[in-house]
Symmetry: C2
Subunit: 770 residues, 2 copies
């Protein structure tokens, strides 16, 4: 589908209607505002292939586990974001012909996602019969300023005939998830009502009893002038609507603006919904489309102001990076610590909208550098609040004494996944959660988080590792047997280097912070020890033994870290030797063949080197990169960005750029042939990191940032915004120099090529590239 | 439930009614005749907990695969034996009160499985109200002489009142499997009919379109005298019946004999069923209960004559071994090469009634030694006929050039299982299929099988191994990565010793037989080479390289074979250190914990030593046994028998007996708390092997058998019958001597303690134990 969307720096543009990629387009053109989001389903009826999808943040349904062979410890349920009642619908009839792009001839179709201002629009001419031509324009946004509001403007103009137009704005709660395990329905209507100019459905999720109310009002204009014809209220099971009919002359234009309000019991008790939704809709309609849109655009302007990346000389890369930044900000706004970021955000059902380690490893670093501290803090609090359930989860698997295993996939803290090699064995996720605390504090300097929340989590994680290792008499070392690393193309391996590394690091970091807190705030430490029942002497002694004697597999000949014990017993052949028709291998090879091959799904040893880069010299990084990159197939969206950053780290800008391209337009160009299911929201953060940490080489060293900019050959310049502690700054890199503009009032310090630079508030420093 | 069934040498007896273990009893008292079989469901209505189960051999339904996470190569369906229309039902009313043991008071209940004559009977007094006492006797058998006939005799006698009795014999096709994946029904009625004295339902399995007809007629006796009251034909959806009402005086006895005929389209085209079933029922009723039962008993007498084991001094062991022999012979009679032996036989739904490697590794050796050659040959032909599908199966997984991977679980040759670590990785099953050919030929001397069928299979299996190994530059050896051995408590391991051993052996055995055939019958060899497209020079060269350089993990210090690479990196603790409340570990531990423990589910290295015992000296066997036995938890029913045989092999009769006890009464005493699901039919063969190959030490060496009898301390003597080539013989072992009685007319040769003995036809030789 590469050629289907036009390259444009601020917009995604589909020209001509392509029903064969409608599902893909529905994903790519999805819009959201953190509170809710939806695929780019059409407002008018569409009987062609489509994945109807509209989602509300934080609302989930526990779908009964589907598994072939049950194992002790499997969860009963997989929490899924349910497809919510559809509020975008507007039935459109022209002289009794229903507009349905799957059935009528369509011309000059153009669908646009405007990322600068955050709206979705369509324009087309449809032919409802006998030479009749009707021009249609649609425009939709989910307000970033008032997130419970969604606004749709729909314009129809019969170009060459007089017509009777009817609009039927509706709410439909007869919706299902395509991926239910046993075909269950997730929502049940509580009540519904329709009157002239107002209608709503209140629905409740089964089992979890979340309640949401979907209501609308509307206004009509004929040739730009407000008209108020009577509407006919319609109501049937799971459906409320208003029907309006207006006669137009050739060339007239009829416009409906549908104001939608969506209330969720997460924020407002259900018994207040009906009164409140009337009020909010009245208020919204009173302000009108123009003012609502302005305040929405203002929010986007603010966001772009602190997170835009500009690239000169490479429009496709420019479009790609903005696409990623745009979707990340649509998905998560960081206002509520009960929310998180599902791998597909609001763009599809896959992965159930649940939280993975993607958040800590990829998305958090993006928000740490682009958003106010509170946003990242809420991501950490999300996990802190799940600590109790994670301890319970570990207990189910036989761990004791306050050890926590965070779930691989979760909505409310309970594990949802049910593949033993992932659920029970992909335990490195615990490491990412520890690392996130470290990362948050080094970015923000908010050590207060450690004493209020962080240390409790770290103790529980360390306790897990302390029980999960075993001592091998044979090796004289502590080993971690039976794990799956980030590279899920290996299962149940022993001593995954990444896992062992992050486990030992977690133990060290916990001990270190106990030490710091002892000095800084002994009473907080006592409180934490008491709360966690911490037996300091005994527990720390064990941790230190493990740190000292942890086994890290390596190959002395090649001087590389080994992904796991026995890795070199495989046949080592470069990924380039796999015939193109067999890629991606996970869609062509049986699982055993993948497992016994040397091919790596995603950065694993290199992920560890990325996290703990300052432990390794450039030669070590290079040796490991040169060994692992050729056998890595990057069939996870989370892979190429890490490789790109490390390629840049070793000065290989060509390779870094090649790998960057795989991530930047992954969804726009549908590399993995799966964009129909939704976008790779979490990996989008990796793309941004590939520019900022990769090309620009931004690192943190204590109170300073370090820069080491490189620039891809094709680019004239690139500019990004970032935050560090109190500073917000802009970095522009050209082929000859780079410039840091300090946009805050406090002094910004950075290191470049061994020298230290200071950028006073509200000023710039330019440095020539060496 | 240990104490619930009385110990008796020929019978299983339940005294007193125990609704809490009704499901268990339904399994234990199950009857069958190879053509069909059924759980011991009650004839009259029973509204308590019960697993209704009646099954027809060779009829299966492809149930849609249920899996959480799909992987390339998974099968679409799991073939299951469908619960067939219920033909055992007889509604019984006494003065309008329905007899239902879950609702009425029951006294003097006694359920008996008579193994000598192969029938199931019940006797009880039921109280249908107000002091009324009714005596009931039931008697049921599935004819071993005419396997499409099932006969039920049901007697009722009101002891202390005059009563109106009604009998309603019926067929009910509204049946389901409890373990359907998506609640689908497996059968659909084709037609049904009921008239006075005759009724039938013809039903068809959905998707697979097997057709079966279930028909009955009946006769009535009052106080032993034939009566012929009119019956009322009943018919409704999925139900046909006849209703008969008879008035009895206090002390009278009313008896119904229900003659049932079950026809299957496997044996008779569906359009002939109705006419044929009328004919067969007429014939059966004409012969009558007594003669039908006599010819049935005659068959059992014949079976026991060649397969009974007598044990003096240990009634529980005696009952146990007969229970096993009885069920094996009920399940498989070896008449049809389309049939095989499901792990639960006809006693439950678990494992879908499908075929596992259990057949080749455990059941075949039993039938080789107890049944005519044709029976075993049919078991081999079953796999031969699936060769094409096994090649197809291997192709799905990326293998080429005629390589075959036999399915882990199958009904018609297609793979049914869908756990990657089993389906794709438990490939040692291919080894068992090769070994079965070897085993069959050494027992029967039927080398003709090799040229007609065996070699084709061996070539396809060898081709599989040839592609499945990879060469490790690191080790300078061929390795087999990513497998699951017989010990399923390890998944995705490298170089499972058992798998590597049987793989290399298969290659050698194939090469050896190509050599033999070249000498014996070069034209057959040419035909096979041509049929298989065999490139002799190239393929054999590769096989020889693999045989020469195969990696066999071992520990030089302990001088043992290692279950797999890295096994010694585990914490080694004896299974006896696991708290009793945590056994079986697979019901208490999460899968990762099981995997990283050292605990072994079932014989693995020891299974290999058992198969290839003559390669190893006694010290080697002992060292490996002493290392593995303490860490083996025997949570597979196929484990303890192998350990028992090897314990006996090393002279450890105490341990051998201890392990024997675990297998012999596994189901009778419900060791694994799962007999409610059905019996462990396939492992029953292992119990017999533990006596014959274990205690008696029977082996084959070329044209001779070897005996090396031991006797458990508790036993006074034991006697078994066995076959070898043309000979049928009986061996009695006492504490002082053993005796071989040659029951055939040809000379029998055997070796004992280095000496060679000859037993002329129809005579005995007695040897003192040394």
């Amino acid at each position: 589908m590469k050629s289907l969307f036009k390259t444009d720096e601020w917009q995604i543009i589909e020209e001509g209607f392509h029903p064969d990629i409608n599902r893909e387009a529905e994903s790519v053109f999805a819009i959201g505002n953190g509170y809710m989001g939806q695929r780019a389903n059409m407002e008018e009826k569409y009987s062609g292939d489509s994945l109807q999808g509209s989602y509300l943040a934080g609302i989930y349904y526990p779908d009964k586990t589907k598994v072939g062979w049950w194992k002790v410890g499997y969860p009963e349920y997989f929490a899924k974001v349910p497809n919510a009642p559809n509020w975008t619908g507007i039935g459109v009839q022209i002289d009794n012909t229903e507009i349905d792009l799957a059935k009528l001839r369509v011309e000059n179709f153009r669908r646009v996602l405007n990322m600068k201002e955050g709206y979705l629009s369509r324009e087309f001419t449809v032919l409802p019969g006998k030479g009749k031509r009707v021009h249609v324009q649609t425009f939709r946004f989910l307000s970033m300023a008032e997130p419970d509001l969604g606004i749709i403007r729909y314009k129809v103009s019969p170009l060459n005939f007089n017509a009777t137009i009817s609009f039927t704005p509706f709410i439909n709660s007869d919706v299902r998830n395509e991926d239910t395990n046993f075909g269950e329905k997730f929502w049940k209507d509580v009540h519904s009502h329709s009157e002239d100019g107002f209608a709503f459905i209140t629905a409740r999720t089964l089992r979890t009893n979340f309640v949401a109310t979907f209501a609308f009002t509307f206004e009509l204009r004929k040739n730009g002038k407000r008209i108020s014809p009577a509407s006919e209220p319609l109501s049937r099971k799971s459906y409320v609507a208003n029907r309006i009919q207006v006669s137009l002359k050739e060339g007239d234009e009829l416009e409906i603006i549908k104001y939608v309000n969506v209330l969720s019991s997460l924020y407002l008790p259900a018994d207040q919904h009906v009164a409140e939704t009337r009020k909010r809709l009245g208020h919204a309609a009173g302000r009108g489309f123009g003012r609502l849109f302005s305040s929405h655009v203002k929010e986007w302007t603010r966001i772009w102001g602190t997170s835009d990346v500009e690239i000169e000389g490479d429009p496709a890369a420019q479009q790609g990076i903005r696409f990623n930044i745009f979707h990340l900000n649509q998905t998560y706004t960081g206002k509520d610590e009960r929310l998180n970021i599902g791998p597909k955000g609001f763009t599809g059902e896959k992965y159930g909208g649940s939280t993975y380690w993607d958040t800590e490893a990829f998305v958090l670093p993006f928000f740490l550098k682009t958003a106010p501290m509170k946003v990242s803090r809420n991501l950490l609090l999300y996990r802190y609040k799940h600590l109790g359930k994670s301890i319970e989860n570990a207990r189910k698997l036989g761990f004791r004494g306050g050890a926590a295993l965070y779930p691989m996939v979760t909505m409310n803290g309970e594990e949802c996944h049910n593949e033993w090699e992932i659920t029970f064995e992909e335990i490195h996720r615990n490491g990412a959660i520890a690392f996130a605390i470290f990362n948050y504090i080094r970015h923000t300097g908010d050590f207060g988080y450690m004493k209020s929340y962080g240390l409790e989590v770290l103790i529980a994680l360390s306790r897990f590792w302390s029980q999960r290792v075993s001592f091998s008499e044979n090796l004289g070392k502590f080993v971690i047997l039976g794990v799956t690393g980030p590279n899920e193309y290996e299962n149940n391996v022993n001593n995954n280097w990444y896992t062992n590394t992050i486990a030992a690091w977690t133990l060290s970091y916990t001990i270190e912070n106990i030490g710091i807190l002892r000095k800084k705030d002994p009473s907080s430490l006592s409180r934490i020890f008491s709360k966690t029942g911490f037996r300091e002497g005994k527990e720390i002694r064990r941790w230190k033994e493990i740190i000292e004697l942890m086994h890290f597999p390596r190959d002395e000949k090649r001087k590389i870290f080994l992904q796991q014990d026995g890795f070199l017993d495989k046949e080592l052949k470069p990924a380039s030797s796999i015939p193109a028709g067999q890629r991606p291998i996970n869609q062509h090879w049986s699982w055993d063949r993948i497992l016994r091959s040397c091919y790596i799904k995603q950065a694993d040893v290199l992920q560890g080197i990325y996290f703990f880069e300052d432990r390794f010299d450039t030669d070590t990084i290079k040796r490991n990169f040169d060994f692992y990159e050729p056998i890595t197939v990057h069939e996870s969206s989370l892979s190429a960005c890490i490789h790109s950053i490390l390629a840049a780290r070793t000065g290989n800008i060509g390779k870094a750029y090649e790998l960057y391209l795989r991530t930047a337009r992954l969804d726009l160009d549908d590399y993995n042939r799966e964009v129909a299911d939704g976008l790779h929201i979490t990996s989008m953060a990796g793309t941004w990191l590939a520019i900022v940490e990769g090309f620009a080489g931004m690192r943190i060293s204590g109170e300073n940032i370090i820069l080491k900019p490189l620039i891809p050959v094709k680019w004239k310049s690139y500019t990004f915004r970032a935050r560090f502690r109190d500073n917000l700054f802009k970095v522009k890199v050209t082929r000859k120099w780079f410039e840091i503009g300090n946009q805050s009032s406090t002094l910004l310090k950075f290191l470049y090529n061994g020298s230290r630079y200071e950028v006073p508030g509200r000023s710039e420093v330019r440095v020539n590239l060496q």
